[in-house]
Amino acid sequence: MSEVPTSEIMERTKTIELRVLRYRPVSDHEPVFQAYQVPYSDDMSVLQVLQSVKDTQDGTLSFRWSCRMAICGSCGMMINGDPRLACNTFVRDLAPNPVTVEPLRNFPIERDLVVTVGDFVKKIESIYPYIIPKTPKSIEAGEYLQTPAQMAAYESFSDCINCMLCYAACPQFGANPDFIGPGAMALLQRYNGDSRDGGQQLRLDSIAGEDGVWSCTAVGVCSDACPKQVDPANAVNQNKTKSALDFFLRFIRPKDQGAGAKS
């Protein structure tokens, strides 16, 4: 790893062919591929190659990015057919073959590599993405305490960076765009699995039915695509069990339970 001194800027001695699926809503009837020959060095990510194209060859190329270190979740795209973070994918691993870059699958294309994220944001909002205390306390009464084991129960689900790679990997989301999907379910499980939270019933009510967990057929590719090992497939599928149990338990459950955390 540390053979190359980090202070030294590497020479871009090699060239890679980058094939980008372009779509300009004003002038293009449908997306078309455009190829660029880009000089690169072994330390460059696909994102850096895209930035190089935008800087030196074609300023009209549009793509989202921010942190360059796989934590903001902005630069998700299909690289050689797989959903990947462009900042986390290195050209040296794909060269010398041409690299194909497309916008995330299963999402409407706004422009070039930029997709529509509005529906995804709405889904995240729909699952009450905040802690709803079981018994509200005043500030004077102190913190809500949690043991390390209680934290371990949900912590991995809080690692989600909303990059939507799991949605691009999910064929059931491709077939039913209203499916709540893996990412939002990981966030739901992050709160439902939290020992301080009391909003489980409220969230369970929001994911019953075909557009809830039941579009999932446990394909499992979402978890393979996740760059943060969140395992969204686990979040969706353990909630299928809970949703099924809830379906039968609703007959014997007191009516007012679960509506306790009304906002």
């Binding site: 809503p25 299963n106 129960a153 491709g174 057929t217 446990a218 599928n237 069990t241």
Partner: protein, 134 residues
Amino acid sequence: MSERRPYVRAQPRDWWARKPYLGYTLRELTGVGVVVYGGILLAGLISLARGPEAFEGFRSFLTSPLSLLIHLLLLAVMIWHVVTWFQTMPKTMPKLIANGRHVPQQKLTLAGVGIAAVCSAALIAAFLIAGALP
């Protein structure tokens, strides 16, 4: 310049036959193999109920080369079904925590496949012993 015209790409009809999903498709198809084998067992049960003659017919079918071929194929399908079933199982259950840490999913899969293998071996051994008894 600010005109919005989002372009929706259709999902290919054959997505299930493509690379990352083919494993899933094959896994689900093994369920058909399980049904077929269940059908064979049921046919045996029905022949048994119909009397000794019918059951003898069923037994002679079992010893035919075609039946052997079918059973070898079904055995392979069933093994794949078991392995992939236990690969999927950890994804469908809450995270197991032992000593404050997650139990790795691979361990759960290994344990499941191991238990299934031991049970199958024990069953075969029990039949062999019972068959050898006078």
